[in-house]
């Protein structure tokens, strides 16, 4: 009996569709202008080759941007009827959808995530966020924040590199719907897709100054959140930076929301739909190379099914295709930067030193570019660093438990509290576990599902405030009665 040795031919998306320019500028006051900061080079993490040069902001540029945002707020945006604001948001949503293929390519080239994820996940969901919030713009008095809620003013926003365009949409759409204007800083390693969004915003004829985009490093972000002209700060990123922002904002009038790190428990009971639980574990930690703050990075599996689950998990992970992010058949792309790759490598080595058992997918790893193969540590205990610290990479730590109470205790035994997963066919257990878990998002029999209508946010050191849904609007509205 001989079977066919069938390999998938490479199916690369064309990089030309991204229309990457040599040089990108800041977007301030409705115009693309060069900043006074030092230019940065953004690289394609899958090839380590430079992609484009991006002009960055200086502290003076932050001043300018905040003042044009203030003017746009006072003169135009805060006075505009909600129905009119909504029209602009619908226009932006359609613009993203129309340029979806281009945006997917830009995102994949700049970030390293597989094209199938940017194409089927990031970009459509970003568009969906604008569509969803467009609908709220003229209905804010019915959102549960009093009969006449007011916008806050100028929002200073800082976003991470793991979902560059999607995080921009999460931040900009609710702020605009509620009547605020925005100054936003993308991550240093992923500035391109939001600058394509700037073109879409410009094409939508959004009044100048309503959205301002300032590429740059941490110093620009720091200048922005500490600027006295900013009324509201929204940050998504690491817990360390979030803590510093909260400290520096203490005693000011600024409203703050933080969406920070996580070390989510994905809890598999013995009565779970095992095959789908394995899918959920894979999706939980290997989606977006594990660069997900709500990643299910701690697998808590009931001891009675641990061997079966681990065997199936290893078999399944072995089928994941790691490689060129532009190939439509790639499941796992490149780590976003050398720095992050080094951090993942170092923490994984700590796992070895601490005595956990490392298993690595046998998948081939490209010689060039930043890649880390899917890795599963078993025999992990609560005291190990790999079960306590956020690795932010494709590394899963597997722990076991005996009873639901033990699962709850272990799942909650972390300073973080962003998300959790529960796998069981027993409905009452899902409800009981969900109320006992100290996590902002609890998925049952699924993982890493996002929707603009659903609130997202953390407990404890994973931050505060919600994004998405009716609750998310609260971060950008002043309740008035």
């Amino acid at each position: 009996m001989t079977h066919l040795d069938w390999e998938y031919a490479p199916a690369p998306e064309s990089a030309a569709i991204g229309r990457i320019k040599e040089r990108y500028s800041m977007f301030v006051g409705g115009k693309f202008v060069d900043g006074r900061g030092e230019d940065l080079k953004t690289v394609n993490p899958a090839t380590e080759e430079p992609l484009a040069v991006v002009s960055t902001a200086s502290t003076a540029d932050v001043d300018t941007a905040v003042s044009v945002a203030r003017k746009a707020y006072d003169d135009v945006w805060s006075r505009m009827p909600g129905a009119e604001r909504g029209k602009y948001l619908y226009r932006i949503a359609r613009g993203i959808a129309e340029r979806a293929r281009e945006l997917a390519v830009v995102e994949t080239l700049d970030n390293g995530k597989p094209i199938k994820e940017s194409r089927d996940g990031d970009i459509p969901t970003a568009s969906a966020h604008f569509f969803y919030h467009a609908g709220w713009a003229d209905k804010l008095e019915h959102a549960g924040y009093g009969p006449a809620p007011h916008p806050l003013g100028v929002a200073g926003q800082v976003i991470p590199w793991n979902f560059p365009l999607l995080m921009a949409a999460w931040k900009i759409a609710p702020a605009l719907a509620a009547g605020n204007t925005v100054v936003i800083k993308p991550a240093e390693t992923t500035p391109l897709s939001i600058l394509v969004l700037a073109e879409i915003i410009a094409d939508a004829d959004l009044p100048p100054g309503v959205v301002n985009i300032l590429p740059g490093a941490g110093d620009v972000g720091s200048a922005l959140v500490n600027h006295p002209g900013v009324d509201k700060v929204a940050f998504t990123g690491s817990t360390a930076v979030g803590r510093a922002i909260q400290a520096s904002l203490a005693g000011t009038r600024k409203k703050l929301t933080l969406e920070l790190g996580g070390k989510a428990a994905n809890i598999v009971f013995d009565d779970a739909p095992i095959d789908q639980a394995v899918e959920g574990i894979v999706n939980g930690i290997f989606f977006n190379q594990g660069h997900v703050c709500c990643a299910g990075s701690r697998l808590l599996v009931q001891e009675s099914v641990a061997d079966e689950v681990l065997a199936k998990l290893r078999a399944r992970v072995s089928t994941l295709r790691l490689g060129d992010p532009m190939d439509k058949n790639t499941d796992i792309g490149a780590i976003n930067s050398r720095e992050q790759l080094d951090r993942i490598t170092a923490l994984a080595n700590v796992g070895d030193e601490e005595g956990a058992e490392r298993w690595t997918s046998p998948c081939p790893v490209p010689e060039r570019g930043f890649f880390f193969p899917p890795t599963v540590f078993s025999g992990v205990s609560q005291s190990m660093r790999i079960s306590r610290e956020e690795i932010f990479g494709p590394v899963l730590s597997v722990l076991t438990f005996r009873t639901p109470d033990e699962a709850i205790a272990k799942a909650n035994n972390t300073p973080y509290g962003l998300s959790a997963g529960i796998w069981t066919e027993k409905g009452s257990r899902i409800l009981g576990m969900a109320s006992a878990l100290r996590a902002g998002v609890v998925w049952s029999n699924t993982f890493n599902r996002f929707d603009p209508t659903a609130a997202f946010g953390g407990y404890k050191e994973s931050g505060f405030g919600r994004e998405g849904g009716r609750a998310g609007l609260g971060a950008y509205l002043q309740e008035e009665n």
Partner: protein
Amino acid sequence: MTTLQGSSASRTGALGATALPAAALPPDLVDAIRDEQSLRRFLAGLPGVDPVGLEQRSAGLATRSIKKASKLAAIDLAISMVDLTTLEGSDTPGKVRSLAAKARRPDPDVPGTPSVAAVCVYPDMVSCAAEVLRGSSIGIASVATAFPSGRSALPIKLADTRLAIESGATEVDMVIDRGAFLAGNYGKVFDEIVAIKQACGTTRLKVILETGELGTYDNVRRASWLGLLAGGDFIKTSTGKISPAATLPVTHVMLQAVRDWYDRTGERRAVKPAGGIRNTKDAIKYLVAVREVAGDEWLDPFLFRFGASSLLNDLLMQRRAQTQGHYSGPSYVTVD
């Protein structure tokens, strides 16, 4: 192994006829078929299938991009896996002879086109197909056991099976008793499969679960294991007479079942989705599922088949497009 419900006049012969001798089964599977209660406990104890997760994975696999040499290889493989089927009340010797001729040479204008795996006909048409296919390696599959409903007594189903085999069938496609399955009478379903398998002897047996009537993926998984435990060489989705027939998620559950069976017994059993797979694009999605759920070893006509009629012509047209660089259209493939 004995019959689960004890022997009766109508069930004689249903003794120890699985593809794998019971002795070779691991102890937990031997226990599973000890008696009807054990079988019920085993099937009820299988992990559930979460429909949302299953369908998500299945849709995810369907986005694999297969082109160029990989596509041509897939088309040839798919052609070689087709059970070219006609199962109509209006079937005539002429229709069956025409179909059998097509099975031998699917695309007479293009030498090198593989032949299909088998033709699939009603028992009374088997001898007719056998005349045309004599001397070829193409199988003759016959449906049997009061196909498609299965609503008859076991002696009649056995007689139906014998008619097929005596007429020259090399494969038998039986239907399970869905009524008994849905009533929870797993032992009856098991015993019937065992009895038919014994009547088949060395003839390979495909066990049609008719998943469109089973209602849930949990039931598909249970019926799959029931078919495997009772000795079916294949588990097959559908008769083609009920909608929905084959779907990707259902086939996914069945591929997972044969994979799990292999992991526990070391033996590879086969899967056949049937009905509703009409074009090349769909067929390739099934092959991707075969590869990524069951494994590379199942990319073999011995272990995977498509029950189809119109699929073949689309495969031939796509094959021509791949080899000739342009589409030729339906006028260039034969209508049988």
